[in-house]
């Protein structure tokens, strides 16, 4: 089996303590982690320059080992997990920029927040976030990422797939809110 290298997660949080925490949580689950302290640094890392988001021609070349046919990122990021409350660029702003980018829009994005504000949560899910975790993030939350990472992988080879696995998401614990694509969670 041509095993893909371990999943690489990009974590974005302006709090040093929370960065350390999320990094440790992710590494414990054997993910490779890059942690940055702002949305703009995240975009930089992803190879996107804010004024050239949709211009594919300006995005640097594909890595030699990349067997995917749609990526034009500098690095192969499998998932982005970002804090919501950050100065200058919020997690929501970052989410939007990612979804607006041709090369990045298929990377699953998870939002974290210490505040449980339903309107905020809905906004993020509507914009395409896979999940919304309440802080402090737990091991059980990180365990839920695997399915999103695998879905992201599947999507690369199958265009237009409905990525909502309803059965799987019906069993999420209350602490996380998963995107049902418009359906009401009962």
């Amino acid at each position: 089996m041509a095993a893909r290298a371990q999943f690489h997660v990009l974590a974005v949080d302006d709090s040093l303590i929370d960065r350390k925490l999320i990094e440790r949580l992710l590494k414990t689950s054997s993910y490779q982690v890059t942690a940055v302290d702002s949305g703009s640094k995240a975009l930089e890392f992803l190879g996107i320059h804010e004024d050239e988001e949709n211009n594919e021609a300006s995005i640097p070349s594909v890595s030699p080992n990349d067997d995917d046919d749609d990526d034009h990122q500098d690095v192969d990021i499998s998932l982005i997990i970002t804090d919501y409350c950050m100065p200058e660029m919020t997690g929501y702003d970052l989410l939007r920029k990612i979804k607006e980018s041709k090369s990045l829009k298929d990377i699953p994005v998870v939002i974290m927040s210490s505040d449980n504000i339903p309107s905020r949560i809905n906004r993020c899910l509507e914009e395409g976030a896979e999940e919304f975790f309440l802080k402090p993030v737990q091991v059980s939350d990180v365990n839920k990422l695997k399915s999103h990472l695998l879905k992201g992988k599947a999507k690369e080879s199958q265009p237009n797939i409905n990525k909502r696995n309803i059965m799987e998401e019906l069993f999420s614990p209350d602490r996380t809110i998963t995107n049902y694509g418009g359906l009401e969670k009962v």
């Binding site: 350390k20 925490l21 440790r24 402090p136 091991v139």
Partner: protein
């Protein structure tokens, strides 16, 4: 004191911190994230927390000392402190921050100063308690023992 006694004392001390609500389950999570490859994880995170929080408390005090208090700024600092205390499991500090944010909303300087005092008190308390905890752990390790894996037995 022999090793077994020291370990017993540590377990009892840790238990009391949870019972008194000074620490919550998040601290336990931190301990469970520590292993041989990251043996100082808890101490590192906690140290970062105290560095960060001391600075925040000073910033808050300064902001409240202004002629015209910027409550949004105070609230932003308290929000940050609330977040980091929640992340390390410092429950009473976190709760004091929640109360503080309410005072900020009311834009009441006197109320905020009282809240600040409360947060500082809880902060001081958890700092002392954790310093004692880490010292007990060090004594055990120095005596050649290992610190028992944290578990929720209460």
């Amino acid at each position: 004191m022999e090793l077994g006694q020291m370990q017993g004392r540590l377990a009892e001390y840790t238990r009391s911190l949870y019972m008194e609500g000074i620490l919550d389950a998040q601290f336990l999570q931190l301990q469970q994230l520590q292993d041989e490859s990251n043996p100082d994880f808890v101490v590192e995170v906690v140290s970062l927390f105290f560095e960060d929080s001391e600075k925040l408390l000073n910033d808050i005090a300064r902001a409240l000392d202004q002629q015209s208090v910027d409550f949004k700024r105070v609230d932003a600092h308290v929000h940050q402190l609330k977040g980091s205390s929640a992340s390390v499991g410092a429950q009473r500090v976190k709760d004091a921050c929640v109360a503080f944010r309410n005072c900020c909303e009311e834009q009441n300087v006197e109320g905020c100063l009282r809240c600040l005092q409360q947060v500082k008190q809880e902060h001081y308390l958890v700092k002392n308690k954790l310093e004692t905890l880490f010292r007990l752990e060090q004594q055990i390790v120095a005596a050649g023992g290992s610190v028992p894996m944290a578990e929720m037995t209460f």
